[in-house]
Amino acid sequence: DVKVTQSSRYLVKRTGEKVFLECVQDMDHENMFWYRQDPGLGLRLIYFSYDVKMKEKGDIPEGYSVSREKKERFSLILESTSTNQTSMYLCASSLLGIPEAFFGQGTRLTVV
């Protein structure tokens, strides 16, 4: 079974802190994605990557950056957190050319 693992289920950070959200997949998937999910807004795409060291902006990249140094790992970086980044963050991966995506369990980030 494909496994997508997010490093934390719950995080509480103070405004202005730097946060790394890590995501690892074990099935050699080329594609990896970061979404945030907020009540009433559904899932919104932050960034995605089709290969190592490649990244593409999604719909809401402002305030975020990403890193993909290895194929299995895709990190979401919040350089200086703000309260409006309090959200559920979901990582997903998929094979190139195969539309089905596999999701991690999510990280619920609270910025105080």
């Binding site: 997508v4 594609n31 994605f33 979404y35 009433g40 807004l41 559904g42 899932l43 919104r44 795409l45 995605f48 089709y50 593409e56 999604g58 719909d59 559920m88 979901l90 997903a92 998929s94 539309p99 089905e100 995506a101 596999f102 999701f103 991690g104 369990q105 999510g106 619920r108």
Partner: protein
Amino acid sequence: SQQGEEDPQALSIQEGENATMNCSYKTSINNLQWYRQNSGRGLVHLILIRSNEREKHSGRLRVTLDTSKKSSSLLITASRAADTASYFCATDETKAGTALIFGKGTTLSVSS
């Protein structure tokens, strides 16, 4: 940009009844998928329908796709309390280099 819009936003039914959720989208697509999310968890893929298909079945799930109306529906027959979850449609556009775009979801509550 949010590609899919589900309707209704919330649906409450009794066990044994059928549940129908609808999804509308805006651009040409390769595929449309439906995902399920239990409360506070990641999403799980349910079923995929390709743009050249009109109907697909999987167990108690039936999905239809009308590309002329840019809409899809998910029917869950003989619903169970365990079907209580949020359901999302997701599309990938025909142009290359795009990620899955999700709608806002339908929250289904099945009471016994």
